[in-house]
Point group: C2
Chain length 151, copies 2
DNA sequence: TCCATGTAAATGCAAGTGCATCTATATGAA
DNA sequence: TTCATATAGATGCACTTGCATTTACATGGA
């Protein structure tokens, strides 16, 4: 898969990657919204925090896990903080940094959202695949695209 | 793959779908921008028009092919029209509708962009896959997600 | 014909995003 | 220590997107 021109299969995969994500994301977002929940990005960010030691991460770390730009992380945290789902704490080891910690309200939010989110994932992704092997294959192949040999 | 709860493989595939697209799209957009080209969405829209009979499509059709929301299509056409890459024509068969046609400048634009776009696709997608079979598999699986059994 | 209802596309406004820049702290060389 | 440079995160501004609504035309029934 080297060389400077992509094969037809690669171009097709690229085009479908864009559209499949667009379709799935729009579907899931719409389902969540209809059920009265906040945007998906809030869930994803809170989940990363919850999974981390002490329920906290530095914005920089959140950035690399969510693959969002720095200024977008900064403002996402603003919104989550304004609603009381996270709190910013100073980061002792580096005065420039900070720690973003999930609050009890944040934990409650993702817990409450999960059933609806889970159902939406199943509807817009799971139900379109034929079997577990396909899901596994898809996850594996997408994993290759994420692997960071970037730059 | 039925039922209401997604398997772990499905959840993983979902999470990676979001991130893989985000990473690949950001990478390709950055490459194009650095080379001085307009956003990717312009290319995609113009390509759909170029491939169509008479180089024209109704906005409604463009919407379903690009999987963008109606108002976004409307404004994308505004921008393309302002730069002279497309033109809006009345649609005789339905007075509410219109036809959006690619211009000579539009054709020249996508022709000029393709080498840079192609190289970016190869760098951010092709180079990360191991062989043609993987590209083909990925395209096939993503195709399942796009297939419209929606609603 | 007239009107209620439906559909294609545009638009005002709010919210989110990209971009460049700014502030504050950290690090390393002189 | 001092200063140049680098890094973490915030922010002003322009542009894009989402959402609701509006406008214009189409369609079908009374």
């Amino acid at each position: 898969m080297s060389g400077d021109a992509p094969s037809q299969n690669v171009v097709t995969a690229w085009a479908r990657l864009i559209r499949a994500q667009r379709a799935a994301l729009a579907g899931v977002e719409a389902d969540l919204k209809q059920a009265g929940w906040p945007p998906l990005g809030w869930y994803d960010a809170l989940l990363e925090l919850k999974r981390s030691a002490n329920g906290a991460l530095r914005p920089l770390e959140l950035e690399s896990r969510l693959l969002l730009a720095q200024h977008n992380i900064s403002r996402l945290i603003d919104r989550l903080e304004a609603k009381g789902y996270v709190e910013r704490r100073p980061y002792a080891a580096d005065g420039r940094g900070q720690l973003v910690a999930i609050t009890a309200a944040g934990r409650a939010l993702i817990k409450g959202m999960w059933p609806a989110y889970r159902a939406a994932i199943q509807r817009h992704v799971g139900a379109k695949l034929r079997n577990e092997a396909e899901a596994d294959q898809l996850a594996t192949l997408l994993g290759r695209l994420i692997a960071t040999e970037e730059d």
